[in-house]
Each structure stands twice: as C-alpha cells, then as structure tokens.
Symmetry: C2
Subunit: 340 residues, 2 copies
C-alpha cells in the first residue's frame, strides 16, 4: 500500500530469503573480504572480455543466491536486474543464460535498490511467488566506457571513485516461506526522484548524488514518521568519502543527526588509503555486493536489526556530459528489518 | 495476482485514463499521421542535438498525456520509462525536468510494454494512485549510436528497419477514476523471457525478435486460456515485415491462426514502399507512438475492444556484437480491453 507522499508499505512482509555476492581481486584485498561468498582473482573471470566477465559475475551471483536459498531455478518467477553498460548487456546476457523471465532496469548505481523495490513489490502483491533482484559493475568495463581505456593509465582526482567489480543478488519470497522468524523482512521503500543541482564533474559523483540521497531520506522520514534513531544502519550506495560527509552535514542542517548510524558501501568496501581508491567505491555492484555480503550477514546474525539501504545513481552519460549537460541523480531507499 | 505460469491478472481493473503521442517528420508523412497528437517537422525539435531532441519528445509526450488526462502533475506518483540511448539519457533528462519519482527501465524496444506492465502493477496493487509509462526513440540518435553517423549515408539492407522518431506516454489510474465505462482497462500481462536463437545480424532484428514474441504469445494463451479469436488485435512492437511474416508462420505451425488479427506497429507507421523504410519501423518509440496514437484512439471509439500489445526488444549492443555475441530478445505482452 501507498505510504505517505512517496513511499510504499509492504504489508504482507516479504522476506529476504537469501543473498549472494561475488567480487573481484581488489575487493578481495579490501576490509570486507571475508563477507563475500566468492572472490575471483582474475578480473576476466575466465572470459575473453571485461563485459563478458561482468555478465558472468551477475550470472554466478544470481545462480548462487538461488542455490543458497535452496530453491530450484524454475520456482523463480522474475528477475529484476540492471547494470551500467550501454544497453545493459551485463544483465541481458546473464539473464539470457539463466532463463528466468526478466524486467530490465536502468538506474545507474541506484539499480540495486530499484531492483529490490520492484522485486519486493511483485512478491508483496502476489504477482509472483519468488523474485530475484540483482545488479553488477566492473571496474575495467566501466573505465573504458565512461572514462578512458585502462591502457592509458589516466589518474583519478581525489574526489573520483573506484568502480567495484562484482555483483550481488537477493531472493525475495513471501512471508509464509519462512520456517522460523529468522529471515529479514522488507518492510517499506521510498523510491527516488531525480535531483540535479547542476554539477558537471564526472570525477565528483559523491557531490552530484548527495542531494538525491538527502531528498529520499527526508521523504522517507516524513512518509514513515520514523527518525534516524529508528535504524541501526542507514547505508548509502556509493556517495564515497566526500558525498557521505556532505550528506551527514546536510541532514544535520535539517535537524537530523545520522552521523553515528550512517555508513556508505563505497567507503566500506575499500581501504581508501592503502588501496588508493580515492573517495571510495562506486558502481551498481558496490551496494549490491556490500549489502548481499556484509550487511545481510549482520542482519542474519542479528548484530543489526533495522537497515535502510539507499543506493544512489548518477543518470548522465559521456554523451550527455559532452553536450554540456549536468548530472541528474536519483536514490531509492528500501528498509530491511528483523522482526522483534 | 499471479495467473498461470508467467502472467499477471490485474484484478482491480486499472484504467488507461489517457495517452499522448508525439512523432517526427517522417512519421508525419506516414499512414498514421492523423492519429498522433503532435507531429514535429524538425528532427532537432528546437534543440541542439539529436539526444536532447529525443529527450524532449518524451518530456512533451508525458506532459501532454498528463494534461489530456486532466490531472495535475503532482498527482502522478511514479513514471516508469526507458529508451535506447546509452545510460537511457533520453528518459533521465526528460523525467528530471518533469520532477516525478522515477523508475528507469531498459528493455530495448520492448520498453513500452514493460513500462506499462510495471505502472499498471503499481496502480493495481495500490502502491500508487496514478502512474505514467513512457518510451522514446529517435532515428538520428539511434543511427549514430547503433550503426553509423548519418553523414556517412550508409545504406540499409532490405531486412533492416527504420527507427521511429517519437514518444508515447500513458496515464494509468485506478478503476474508481472512471466516470462512465468508457476507459479501456488493463486486464492482464505476460512479461517476457529472454530468447536467443543465435542470430547476429543487426540488420535483421525482426528475425532475431520473432522467437521472443512467439514465446510470450504462446505463454499468454496457455496462462489465460485465451485463443487468438479472443482478441480484435494482437499488435507486436517492431517485428517489421519479415519478422511479422515469420511470427504468423510460426504460430500457424503451433496451431494458432493469428493472420487476420495480427498487425505490427513497425508495419503500420510507415508505407515501406513509398517511404523507403525497408522492413518497417522500429525503436521504443514505435510501439509507444502507434499504441498511444492509433490503437488507443480505436479503443476509445470502440472500433476495437480487445487488444494484446507485445512490444519486442533486442538486448544486444554494438559492443556485445563486436565481441561475437548473438542477439538476445525479449517481448512483454499487455492486454487492454473495453468492458462489455
């Protein structure tokens, strides 16, 4: 049901039956290494191109999530997925091989929460029994598509971010599927609105996306009547160090102190100092792999019980920036909670 | 609710409150000229680039659809939209300016029925009061992105298709919004599954996409118990002349005669002989503009009462084809019917 101005309450309490995450070698060297299901040492993942490798990350993450959930593939009604590549070929070819009916999405780096909102919406409404949501990104395919070929060795400024190589996938099922009260429940969501504050610097995505995260977060609090202290963790997708700092400051001005409970997937996945990842991780695969690896594990262990995930996306392209446009951004929020 | 193996029944009978279509000069010269809300003579639509023009087609189509429906913009809860451009910039910038919460989609030329399925799903489930669905394409932006720059004057083989310049938008509302029994109802949908029969010829999309349309159509009949004679019109998105012929033949082999009630938006929008559009129109804007212009007008006048729209999409990219991949395709079906 509709909740407030721009939120959705999932009154039938769909559950997050399981998750899987697969990442690349740089993510393996990062602080969250132990939380990922698989770390692949070869950025090509035994494929001939970076694009095919990215697609394989998604295909394997979805397959693993379904297996971990103990469900046979033909019980999955729909996959909701997307990625950053032109014409979303990572998802297209991954899902072709998986043979599950498909809704293709493009929300840039907000795709992971977008896909989870739509998958949950379908399960909650009874349109589907079980759905999968996924997103992927790959440092090498993203660099050559959005910036420069890797061979050129272009340097990144301090505000720039490092695209995560990896994918995450969730399996969403009806409440009745749970045997005990163990599974986290997707309780509500606040879909995003596009916000564009005129920033044109492709090497400063955090600043470009922060206003969208702010808008979604404020709307979420208004619609649900919740305040920051309701949550154990408010986790943004890839605002990075700079964008996160700006978000906390902006929320403070608005009267909300999120400093203690806010984290950013882009900040968590790399040790920016030792790994030289500048302002932090980014990409659809960033919030996907961090949520499906680290956050879901904490939820299952009840180390945390109430999480708001806000994946953040920048909807520009190299063509639109070349034509003088600024960076429109969007942030979708979804709440995942353990029952008391 | 779930219907059969892969279909959805919209039991609350959401209505198609209104539509709008805006097309370019070549579409204006075609057989459906009188059915479009607006025909723009300038392919640049007063913008500096083809991409900005395409975005304007969508923005104006959505704005016009909302105005025609007599609804103020802030009553629209969500827009579901997508396009063919890298990172879907046509939709991103159009919706930025419209300021309505947004779900970005990528389904290639199947995007129009995908967006309508999701928008209807949201209204039917009560997640939203009113939603908008839209898709766009532009011959000039598509040519330079997928094929060659226009200046090169590359010739198209007979199996090739001509990307439609235009956009269409629908306004989906709850059943209660209707004053009399006049508005067409979105009754059910059969989302698509990716089918890839190994075709690699980018100039033969009709043949590549036909198997996806076939799979969705057969599944639709199985899930709903309907047969071709249930419908007054089964309209595919952009199979073109060749793909349409193949679909009718394939259905015949399966025991279903759709020859009398099947039409294809790509065949209807241009006169292929006089307009030199080879195998017909294509692009997300093809089924969007033909449905919102021609088909919706016939539905409202009760010239036809039961329509199954199957927009068809090819999920490859120039990069994936360059890497030796074949063309994965998908087709989403949605049924729109007048109440008896």
């Amino acid at each position: 049901m509709k909740l407030g101005k721009r939120s959705i309450k999932f009154e039938n309490k769909p559950i997050l039956l399981d998750c899987a995450s697969i990442v690349g070698p740089k993510e393996k060297s990062g602080p969250l290494s132990n939380f990922f299901d698989r770390c692949i040492d070869d950025v090509y993942f035994d494929e001939k191109t970076f694009e095919k490798a990215e697609s394989k990350f998604m295909k394997e993450a979805i397959t693993l999530a379904i297996n971990k959930a103990g469900i046979s593939k033909n019980k999955i009604d729909y996959v909701f997925a997307g990625d950053l590549l032109n014409q979303c070929i990572s998802s297209g070819y991954a899902i072709r091989d998986i043979e599950i009916p498909f809704f293709g999405l493009y929300g840039a780096c907000s795709t992971f929460s977008e896909s989870n909102i739509l998958a949950t919406s379908f399960v909650n409404a009874g349109y589907a029994s079980i759905c999968v949501a996924s997103a992927s990104s790959h440092f090498c395919s993203a660099e050559r598509q959005f910036r420069m070929p890797l061979e050129q060795g272009t340097q990144t400024p301090p505000t720039g971010q490092w695209t995560v190589t990896g994918s995450g996938a969730t399996v969403i099922a009806p409440y009745e599927k749970q045997i005990n009260k163990y599974y986290p429940i997707v309780t509500c969501a606040t879909p995003g609105k596009i916000i564009d504050m005129g920033i044109k610097d492709i090497a400063n995505m955090g600043a470009a996306m922060m206003p969208a995260a702010f808008d979604t977060l404020i709307t979420h609090f208004e619609d649900t009547g919740r305040t920051p202290d309701y949550y154990d963790l408010i986790i943004t997708g890839d605002l990075g160090i700079l964008g996160s700092k700006l978000l906390v400051e902006q929320m403070q001005k608005y009267g909300f102190d999120i400093s203690k409970i806010h984290r950013d997937c882009g900040n968590l996945i790399f040790d920016c100092n030792s790994q030289d990842t500048k302002s932090g991780g980014s990409g659809c695969g960033c919030s996907a792999s961090v949520f499906c690896g680290y956050i879901y594990s904490m939820l299952r262990k009840k180390e945390i019980n109430k999480v708001l995930l806000i994946s953040t996306g920048a909807l520009m392209s190299p063509v639109s920036l070349g034509q003088g446009e600024s960076i429109p951004s969007i942030a979708h929020a979804i709440a995942i909670e353990n029952e008391e």
